[in-house]
Subunit: 118 residues, 6 copies
């Protein structure tokens, strides 16, 4: 397994290991938040693709690297193109300011990993 795969795989493994641990605590409120998370991104008046792009831009302006990675994966699955990704980043950097740039660096790096993973 290459380094690139490792970076993606490590993120996924840690995320699912800890999610399992969190859900095992059997806190009703947290469990419902997790299922609400799933529900909210389902297709409705807006497509899954549009919702995931909105999840991404929100994560960018709130500067949460792990949330960004997660939504990048989802956007990738939904067929968002690299040009579209950069336009999402442009909105996030404009609205959120240059403070978003370091997160954009890590986001672009992760996006390129996702592309090359294939």
């Amino acid at each position: 397994m290459s380094n690139k795969d490792n970076a993606i795989q490590q993120f996924r493994d840690y995320r699912s290991k800890m999610n399992e641990r969190i859900l095992s605590a059997d806190n009703k409120s947290i469990k419902r938040l997790y299922s609400l998370d799933t529900l909210t991104y389902e297709a409705g008046a807006l497509s899954v693709k549009t919702k995931e792009m909105m999840g991404l831009v929100s994560s960018m302006v709130l500067r949460c690297d792990d949330c960004v990675k997660y939504h990048l994966e989802k956007c990738y699955e939904q067929g968002v193109t690299t040009d579209e990704i950069f336009e999402i980043f442009s909105v996030a950097n404009l609205v959120g300011g240059t403070i978003v740039i370091p997160h954009t660096r890590r986001a672009v790096e992760y996006w390129d990993l996702l592309i090359s993973e294939k």
Copy 2:
């Protein structure tokens, strides 16, 4: 003119009066930021509608009421439906938490004004 129109009109008037004042200061950096703002929401790989929806969701999670109002107006112009607006709000409230609820109240009120303005 009804109260409802007043609320919308007051927001627009104050916004354009102060924007003019700001641009009159002739600060090069601020002027370029304003034109970058225009550029960023233009159609590209993503449509204006999608970009405005992303501007809206970003403004919601960052909890900026005036930015929310502005993007609600733009979304309205782009034909975003009420069902779509509520799905955008659902993403914003999920990602940003209940702290976004008071902003959602004001956003829904403004959206209803925009609808009734017509």
Copy 3:
């Protein structure tokens, strides 16, 4: 009705009017977030009082005036004393910095209204 009662009553009226409006939109995700909100503050390993104090301190550091007002009402109902309120404010101002001070001013004003309402 005095001015003081008005300030409290206006907040409550607007809040419940808009909550009704939001729930009437029948967005499943938002409705579940609202019921999750109720669930989360119910007594469990921690008492309602402790949870409401945590809701208050969180609202203070995130600087959401309406959320602060709401949790002040709940804290008041739970018998939180003025001395305890100021200790919650002291934690919020320390953790969140002087940027929290203007919100503390409005919070203290609202707390005093709640006390005097009785």
Copy 4:
């Protein structure tokens, strides 16, 4: 007294009335935070003017209108010019993004009031 003076005076009156109320609660931690606030902006390796400009830019990017007003008053007292103020705003809008623009509108309005007050 003109409307303009009223806007400035109202801000100052509310601020000092509520500060007095807060300090009257005799919470040791909050009182020390207030005196730390005074201490921190005193001249040291950096001048009062430079520190107040830093207080202003910080308040802008954190989007606290009342904090912005307060530091605008202090900057005015320290002889900061309108050109300098706009450069501070340009840094704040760049770093914090367009989300800062609505706060810039209100800040410019208040700055113009301070100028015209004289």
Copy 5:
């Protein structure tokens, strides 16, 4: 020494090494902030336990991993149970939104380390 102890020990060592370095700079304002930090969490109208839980929930919604770790240690010392910790996390995730989830993962991991350290 196991890996687990290392993670805790490294955090503590870096924290105390850098705190010493910061205090050695002899900046009066920073030194007073540090002592204000100590003062604010002392028992008063509220117990140390309650204050530490409020420090924790505040750190969660403000998404500061190191602050979270610190308050987790303090909560552990104060006898906060795992069920209580998850209820604190549930409030933080509700108020702050799903953006808090990645920080919750790291917080739960650290909490489990603290438990197993014994």
Copy 6:
């Protein structure tokens, strides 16, 4: 090359590698934001030194470690002294609260590396 140089060099290398990658995407909005970034910190009514100090304090209160590192380098180039740096940190910690302390630790560590690099 020592470990210390590595920490500085790694930051610089990653930063410039990813900036190149980002600019290679040829997104007009992002490219203009980058050049606006350069323009905004140029000397005008305020000196480069003052602007960089404002960039630093803004980055501190917004808690962006990479932005802090970048502005620390620029401040160092502009001849900002260690005493001045700590006064900037004192403003940031006061305004932004103790949540800024962990970022201050990393900032001081990086500042010391910059000093020792020479």
